[in-house]
């Protein structure tokens, strides 16, 4: 049994479990073996003093859900070895919240262009600084602070 730090629940009764960040991969593995076979999404929340990673799990047979949370300072283990779908969700969380996933096969930005400065869903992200996307010669997008021909 992996130790659970604390438990609570959402307003409509979905169980929320806090796990230490070192234990996240074995804990989710254990949960997967318990029957939580679907990873619905991975999200990150910026609480200013720390970051949190949320894993929404669903057991399609028992029709139960849990939310697993872990507090981190910006790095957790990747769960792509458990669910293939975690790949994109982790890339998105890295892209928008800036949480690094260790051992992720291809941790690149997914929604924003490669080279973007900052992570927009951080609370301290400067909203007034505009970044422009340009098309490079090889067909990939590049980002810069001066407008160029970009948008």
């Amino acid at each position: 049994m992996i130790p659970v730090e604390s438990e609570s629940s959402t307003k409509n009764g979905i169980k929320v479990i806090y796990v230490a960040k070192e234990n996240i991969l074995p804990f989710l593995k254990e949960k997967k073996e318990e029957g939580f076979d679907t990873l619905l999404m991975i999200s990150g929340v910026d609480y200013k003093d720390h970051l949190e990673v949320l894993y929404h799990l669903l057991s399609s047979k028992n029709n139960t859900r849990i939310i697993v949370k872990t507090k981190t300072d910006g790095e957790v283990d990747s769960v792509t070895s458990l669910w293939k779908g975690a790949d994109w969700h982790e890339r998105e969380t890295w892209d928008l919240v800036g949480i690094k996933f260790k051992n992720h096969p291809n941790l690149k930005r997914i929604l924003l262009a490669e080279g973007w400065v900052g992570h927009p869903l951080r609370k301290d992200y400067p909203m007034d600084k505009k970044q422009y996307v340009n098309l490079a010669d090889d067909g990939e997008d590049t980002v810069s602070f001066d407008r160029g021909e970009g948008y």
Partner: protein, 384 residues
């Protein structure tokens, strides 16, 4: 298959294709990518060796935008996620907010919501059906589907005042009541939509060409479906009978009678059949809602419009709903102020789309369009 192909002389810039594998970019501007999907495809002749989707061309960061205003203000961004099924998106947000604030909603409003959501599911599936036919080289079903969708949009126009983005569901109810004229329109629609659907289905489903192109193409096994977090009609076509309307009923789905269609093949044809059957079930639901629609308020009088922006909430809430594409839900975290601290959108198309590499490997270029359109991705929702 292709061997060595030499372009004709191009002034010293001829491309010599020594490699057997060609890399082709499908999209973001391509007639069959349903918006701005780009797929980097490696091709060996006509056969797909590798397909990597590239997304983000429609990214607006709706999550950040929704975190910047009061709770009811987030609605307009949520509306624009899946713009062909905007009411289903609104429902997910409204349920989450109401759950977070313990808002009571009158029964009539809930029934109206249920009916509108089902109508919008039909509209969304009709768009899918039309564009799917277009991707298979059929122009005619597209027009039939849009003709039928137009009637639903007229109903929406009558009830909500707009045709595409409604902003109709409000915290504590809906913005306007259903008029008798709208009820007549819906009744008329429910009566003859079934036969029209039959007609459209027969154009595709009875065509040997269509069936031979879709059977056994773009297959996803049940394990893949679970591993990728694929939900909605795609999941049901792969043999997993899950529908949130039945499994964890919200609104009044437990008070109406409907079946959950599912198939086990997991190919494009199975998805086609599942979606068509879902549309039939939606007609059934709409009919029952019309029968059961109670009289009463259509919104909670306690939550008048000026009040809404001052609503405060703490805690967190996630209400899963069944959108036309799959499980849609919004994880809301409130910090006690009138502005949500975190709005996290679970978008079904995003997860469904991530299964593309598995779905396409080993098939032909022509199967790419068939398989991608069978996902029914809407890029407002994928890129958010």
């Amino acid at each position: 298959m292709m061997g060595r192909i030499q372009f004709p002389s191009t002034g010293g810039r001829g491309t010599d294709m020594e490699d057997k594998v060609i890399e082709v970019n499908f999209g973001p501007q391509h007639p069959s990518t349903h918006g701005v999907l780009r797929i980097k495809v490696k091709l060996d002749g006509e056969i797909i060796v590798d397909a990597q989707p590239v997304i983000g061309y429609l990214h607006r960061n709706a999550e950040k935008l929704a975190e910047m205003g009061a709770y009811p203000k987030g609605m307009i961004y949520i509306d624009r996620l899946d713009y062909v099924a905007a009411l289903n998106m609104e429902l997910g947000y409204v349920l989450a907010v109401e759950n977070l604030m313990d808002v009571q909603v009158p029964e009539r409003a809930l029934w109206i919501r249920q009916m509108m959501v089902e109508l919008n599911r039909e509209a969304s599936h009709l768009i899918w059906l039309g564009t799917h036919g277009l991707d298979m080289g059929m122009l005619t079903p597209f027009f039939y589907c849009f003709r039928e969708r137009e009637r639903i949009l007229r109903i929406f126009d009558e009830i909500t005042g707009s045709r595409l983005l409604y902003n109709y569901f409000a915290i504590g109810g809906v913005y306007s009541d259903i008029t008798p004229k709208a009820i007549d329109m819906i009744k008329e629609w429910t009566e003859d939509f079934g036969t029209k659907l039959e007609e459209i289905q027969s154009i595709l489903g009875k065509s040997y060409i269509y069936v031979s192109r879709t059977k056994g193409v773009g297959t996803l096994s049940a394990e893949d479906v679970l591993s990728y977090g694929v939900t909605g009609p795609m999941q049901r076509a792969s043999g997993i009978k899950r529908d949130l309307r039945k499994d964890s009923p919200y609104l009044f789905y437990d008070k109406v009678n409907f079946d959950v269609p599912y198939r086990t093949e997991g190919d494009v044809y199975a998805r086609f059949l599942v979606r068509i059957e879902e549309m039939r079930q939606s007609i059934k639901i709409v009919k029952q809602v019309l029968e059961k629609l109670p009289q009463g308020d259509f919104y909670n009088k306690k939550y008048s419009k000026p009040m809404l922006v001052r609503l405060k909430a703490t805690g967190e809430s996630y209400v899963p709903t069944e959108s036309p594409k799959g499980e849609f839900g919004i994880h809301l975290i409130g910090d006690g102020s009138s502005i949500p601290y975190r709005v996290r959108i679970r978008s079904p198309s995003f997860a469904n789309l991530s299964s593309i590499p598995t779905m396409l490997k080993g098939y032909k270029i022509a199967d790419l369009t068939a398989a991608v359109s069978s996902i029914d991705p809407v890029f407002g929702e994928v890129d958010r």
